[in-house]
Symmetry: C2
Subunit: 345 residues, 2 copies
DNA sequence: TTGAAAGCGCTAACAC
DNA sequence: GTGTTAGCGCTTTCAA
């Protein structure tokens, strides 16, 4: 087992000094080409790897970005992380992922861990459980560059990249209306999460624009799960006046609704339309395939990372808190489309 | 923007020395309780965070584990990472994720990056593209603890945690046979990947045990994608003698097969059975739901991480290359079950 | 163009 | 129980 080899080792072997080796490896302009060539050759031969830890300590920069996500399980976040990493790697940064599992305590610990790792910045998608944001403002106050993505909190003077949830919900609901559905229900998410709240508002706005009735009984307060989708259908079908379509706050609820509708042998979309949100991987593979709002996940990751880099680079310049709002994309599939071309599968 | 606060700052404020502060923070037994209390109180008050970088440099240990995965997109890996992180966090380790996107070059760069980050060990699931393993043996040779999970390569003297692919495939095929299917085809994966090769062999062994015919025309060489599943069905249905069921090397191929069968209006499972492998999230949500072999993902992650920790701790002791083989679990669902209880959805 | 030397923040062996 | 000191590997100012 070879021990780790350092610039000092290289310097000794070459009869020069660590300083010179360091400069040669970093292509410092004041070093002769001959020396650079010698150093690089030996470094390769000895499989020298720069000790990033020592380098980071000296430079006061870790070239590492922390990412706090609720769960790497969900396709959505996996996809955003793809976007994040592509931009990060292009710019010589690494990413340190931390999963909060939607927990508040876990989120605080994660942030703590990232700060302790002296990351150069943090990207975070807020956990569902979180209702207090002190840990974020504290991080901001000690000058840690921070950007929220997807799940953001306003009023904290922290930059964010989100999609236009209001508009996505509005368009999805409007699509259902255009397909001839007239009694449209909504499976809601936890309202303290801005995205879910905005989607609720977008839904209401679409109803209003088209002069369709909004009924309290047609709103089901779910918790973003397959189960709450099932319960929602149960609930709706108990009403004297049943809805004929539902816009679900995200795809798992929509999936639960589809399952329960299938269970009750209600034909979708002929007698009941369903629209989801998130465009999870499974949406297009269901039968009927699930219409959903795509959140531009990869682009969201890229934008968030780019924004974070700009904050890191500016630093002393303008911190200028910035909100980027991406446009959602409608994927209309079988579950909502009853007028024209039903493409199978 | 407060500047970062260090133990030296704390020491000055307390009229003591950095050494004492360090010991107090680390709960060194030789430090008085009074001093510990004072130090901890001030540290809290000043929001002191230990500089892990400096600590790592000094200790020659980063308490970070590198994880090389083909893609965080795929549910399978997300789930394994869950298992990895739970054990890692319990033991005071962090994880640094690196996605290879199935690429050989990307895998080498990733490993390089992890070595440079001076991680204490690396968990890797080999990229599909990889056919040369020199980067792994090189890492092993410089004493970097290494454990393969899921996609392993034998004969490198590197520990691994995999599931029993042979047995999983054997059981799945046998299940199809028990359901009365007699002409069972196989959608194969790239055969240089051991897992896929083993599954092929398990399939053949089950046929042999039950004295069913093995036909070359009933093997489709796919590339693990929805598309190759579709092409496989195309291929099978061109044969003079058509198969009546298929065991697919993994779920995406199985999904493609299901889609193409639906397209051709072939009733599944009545006229054609389908069995997948991996138990991806979507499998249970398809119509018909897809039978699949579950790979014990979370347990795989936990086992791999535990094994890696034991290697890190042993270090000079016996490196004792160890192979852990987990047992797969069969999830029989609608796509293969034509004898008894079809539970709907 | 290169060498010498200091220091990033932390820890631990050695003193007292 | 606490202070002193050296050093992890790297970068960079200053000097030559």
């Amino acid at each position: 087992m070879n021990k780790k080899i350092t610039i000092t080792d290289l310097a000794e072997l070459l009869g020069t000094t660590p300083g010179t080796v360091s400069r040669a490896l970093n292509n410092h302009p004041a070093i002769s080409d001959a020396m650079k060539k010698k150093v690089h050759a030996l470094a390769d031969k000895m499989h020298y790897k720069r000790n990033q830890i020592a380098s980071s300590l000296r430079l006061g920069k870790s070239y590492t970005i922390g990412v706090l996500i609720p769960s790497a399980d969900i396709n959505f976040f996996g996809s955003v992380v793809h976007g994040i990493e592509s931009v990060a790697n292009e710019n010589g940064y690494r990413t340190l992922l931390f999963q909060t599992n939607e927990g508040y305590k876990s989120e605080m610990e994660g942030l703590e861990a990232l700060l302790s790792a002296h990351v150069d910045g943090v990207l975070v998608s807020i956990a569902k459980e979180t209702k207090d944001y002190g840990h974020f403002t504290a991080a901001r106050d000690i000058g840690m560059p921070l950007v929220f993505f997807d799940r953001a909190k306003e009023g904290l003077d922290i930059s964010s990249v989100v999609i236009d949830d209001f508009n996505g919900a509005f368009l999805a609901t409007e699509h259902l209306i255009e397909q001839g559905f007239k009694k449209i229900a909504h499976i809601a998410g936890q309202q303290h999460i801005k995205a879910f709240h905005d989607r609720f508002n977008g839904y209401k706005a679409a109803l209003k624009k088209h002069k369709l009735p909004f009924k309290k009984q047609w709103i089901f307060d779910g918790d973003v799960s397959i189960n709450s989708g099932k319960q929602a259908i149960d609930h709706f079908f108990k009403q004297k006046e049943r809805p004929d379509a539902v816009f679900a706050v995200e795809d798992y609820s929509a999936l639960g609704a589809l399952k329960e509708l299938k269970n009750r042998k209600v034909p979708v979309p002929q007698e009941f339309g369903v629209f989801g949100f998130a465009n999870e991987l499974f949406a297009e593979h269901l039968t009927p395939s699930l219409s959903s709002v795509d959140q531009q996940t990869v682009m969201m990751g890229k934008e968030a990372m780019s924004l974070l880099l700009s904050i890191i680079d500016a630093k002393k310049g303008q911190p200028a808190c910035k909100s980027i709002i991406l446009n959602p994309l409608l994927y209309t599939r079988e579950s909502s489309q009853r007028l024209s071309n039903h493409q199978s599968i």
